[in-house]
Symmetry: C2
Subunit: 125 residues, 2 copies
Amino acid sequence: MSENNNLENNNDDMCEVFNSHEDVIERVQARMIEEEQYSELAEFFKIFGNPTRLKILSLLAVEDLCVCDICDTLNLNQTTVSNQLRILRANNIVKYQKEGKMARYSLTDLHIEMIYKIGLEHILE
Amino acid sequence: MSENNNLENNNDDMCEVFNSHEDVIERVQARMIEEEQYSELAEFFKIFGNPTRLKILSLLAVEDLCVCDICDTLNLNQTTVSNQLRILRANNIVKYQKEGKMARYSLTDLHIEMIYKIGLEHILE
DNA sequence: TTAACATATCATAATATTGTGATATGAAAA
DNA sequence: TTTTCATATCACAATATTATGATATGTTAA
């Protein structure tokens, strides 16, 4: 901030903010996660981006349920629910437990409920 | 729960768990939010479901940035970044402030950062 | 065994989303 | 003014996702 005050030039191909352009980029880049983690995280959040799946999650946040209860509660056909449950399973968002010919589904962990609730808070405010 | 204990029949088209099927459905349904809120919430989460947008959010969680800094940090072309910023804006996830010919972007509120971080925690565990 | 039931998988048409080239806008410098 | 720069909008081909009909699997009851 003292010496080299002739650095505030070179704005012919870049925007200049209040700090050196390069500085900002380096500082922010240093905090980034891996490319693959961004992809994985995006895949994870994508699951929350569908009303049907969100409904299923909101039910499971109340109590564990079997597939047919989910169908009946949401008035959706079984194929639709099973398909979405498969996606939820594949993304480690719900788990299930076989009970005879039934499958009882539940949320994988508390993160799921937290994300759901913070999101809801956000849109309601 | 006392009278009418002949209700535990009719399982010819429904699965039966441990409780009356109807009971479960009513109990869970009572906790549901409005149809439109599910849609709105899904729209909101959908925004997190794209690696480019997630990268932008992760940068803005570190510090406020102008469009060109985002482009340079992520090595993405300006159209792509502007397009995603428009989506982020439209969904109330980022806000911006004009500073001369620049636009300085920031996260709308703490919810955004919280959701990002809880999601990251989830996939890292 | 067979039948009935709960759930899962597959295939697909309808629909939505992506990144990006072309182009527009608007502010400051020349 | 004209030019340059930062950013925004539009249009669209490529790609992904949706719900669901058809069908398969696996479990229990008859």
